[in-house]
Symmetry: C2
Subunit: 305 residues, 2 copies
């Protein structure tokens, strides 16, 4: 069974890692949001792409979910001591990734080719694709005006009230080579439990998914998110944050929906949106959790009537 | 006694540090070569400037003379693992300097202002000036063609035979603010034991030193250099490397010359170039050596007839 998984950062990376533990590598393609990418200290940084790759490579920091395990912070601390901005953490090993990516981009290489080569160096056998080689920038419209995504997300700690989103450059951005083909030949597209507004939606804006079974996993559990501002965004946009709200957002696209057992009372309503449902424990605290959830999702997909 | 010292990397930094241990901070200005500066991994790197600053701040690696003490190499090793160039060592703490300098240069700040702020953060009380805020690039003409300085010096380990030098941009580069004034109000200019061809000469091309006592310290000891390719350069340019060759190069500029005790047989010839001489132990192996040599040079200067 060939799977394409669409993923943002930590939550998406965890489910992708679970799927990677089960599927033959050639059967899993992870397409990653690049709307969060930004330039900082002159370096080109791809937070979601790096989180997915570090996680698949077994290099991720198990405490935070992002960044590298056994990381040091000497460059960052020295830069901050010299007056540099300290709001975005840059670990030393992580910096190596940004340095080499920046060097190659300046040399004219495409992000997709660089990502492919990095995956090879990190011994990642699955296919990881950034959604586009052209820059797409998520802009968050807030009560304090428009903010670049990392400015909103990290620097301002998601404090400004959200009014909407736009994806600068999305109209001109093309899917990376291989992305359309991967979707076309996939049996199912999985929308990982990533932020629907700013992780999954930018990918869907770039890569068309038509007439394909799509299984979405709710990032909202009991009205809250494990990580990140998705629930807060729903509230500020006047929508009660819930798995049902997520299902509603994917209406017409998702044919199956996975929601947490503590939200089982919402199952009927989700079915009312013309989706099959899987109710299970969707929390991924351990590596085993990732694999178990991935297994259950694959079984759910396989059970298509 | 107000001193302006012209310095390149390690040797120059050591004597500057010796002088800094004796003179009141307001009486020492170190003007540093920037012809070695280059861009690498998208970062703006100033090897000589950093060596001088790290040395004055007590942050330098005592083993190598360049780079930082207690350094880690995690960013660099990760970048190299991803296929990045590994010929120029980039320590993690050192990277912090390059990152913040690059960030500020991209923001429009001048190198001289950035250096001033970095010195303040590192608690360096002496004045350290890059020679120019405009880019000057030392190009080494060799039997393999022209090479950018770091390409010749680090990547090619000074192996190609030298035919000459040029300093790209030197004709348009201006001294940094305060450099002319520092030279004008100095009692003596000291040419540190740095490479005459590629460390001192570029500074002299930018900053005019007229009608001023100038004391030069030979970087050639017993026909060899403690570090770096100066002796090899003399040979390849058809000049026997010696303290006398250095004195000859500074003829008409230097009024005093410091040579090592093992070269005492050259003293008379140097005097014949119309220079006063100081013959002493010019090796700086310990911090005490730096201070002793600086003290002897100051006494030599003070003994002007």
């Amino acid at each position: 069974m060939k799977i394409v998984a669409l993923a943002g950062g930590v939550g998406g990376a965890k489910l992708a890692h679970g799927l990677a533990q089960i599927l033959p590598p050639e059967d899993l393609t992870v397409i990653v949001n690049t709307g969060d990418d930004f330039e900082h200290y002159g370096l080109y940084i791809c937070p979601d792409l790096d989180t997915v790759c570090y996680t698949l490579a077994g290099l991720a920091n198990p405490e935070t979910g992002w960044g590298r395990a056994n990381e040091t912070w000497n460059a960052f601390q020295n830069a901050a001591k010299l007056g540099g901005p300290a709001w975005f953490n840059l670990g030393d090993q992580d910096l190596g990734t940004h340095l080499e990516r920046t060097r190659r981009l300046k040399g004219g290489d495409r992000l997709s080719q660089i990502t492919k080569d990095f995956c090879s160096a990190w011994n990642i056998k699955q296919t990881v694709l950034p959604m586009s080689d052209q820059p797409v920038r998520t802009i968050v419209d807030t009560d304090e005006g428009e903010l670049a995504f990392q400015e909103y997300f990290v620097h301002r700690r998601c404090e400004p009230r959200v009014k909407g989103f736009r994806f600068e450059g999305a109209d001109k951005a093309e899917p990376v080579p291989g992305a359309r083909e991967a979707v076309r030949s996939a049996d199912v597209v999985v929308l990982c439990p990533s932020n629907p507004w700013v992780s999954i939606d930018p990918i869907l804006k770039i890569i068309p998914i038509d007439q394909k079974p799509v299984v979405a996993v709710s990032p909202i559990i009991g009205g809250q998110t494990v990580k990140g501002p998705a629930a807060k965004m729903y509230s500020e946009l006047g929508i009660e944050p819930s798995a049902l709200a997520v299902a509603n957002q994917y209406r017409g696209l998702a044919t199956g929906f996975v929601l947490d057992q503590i939200d089982s009372q919402l199952e009927e309503s989700v079915r009312g949106l013309n989706m099959r449902t899987l109710v299970t424990n969707t929390m991924m605290q351990s590596h085993e959790d990732r694999k178990r959830l991935a297994n259950e999702i694959l079984a759910f997909i396989g059970s298509t009537p």
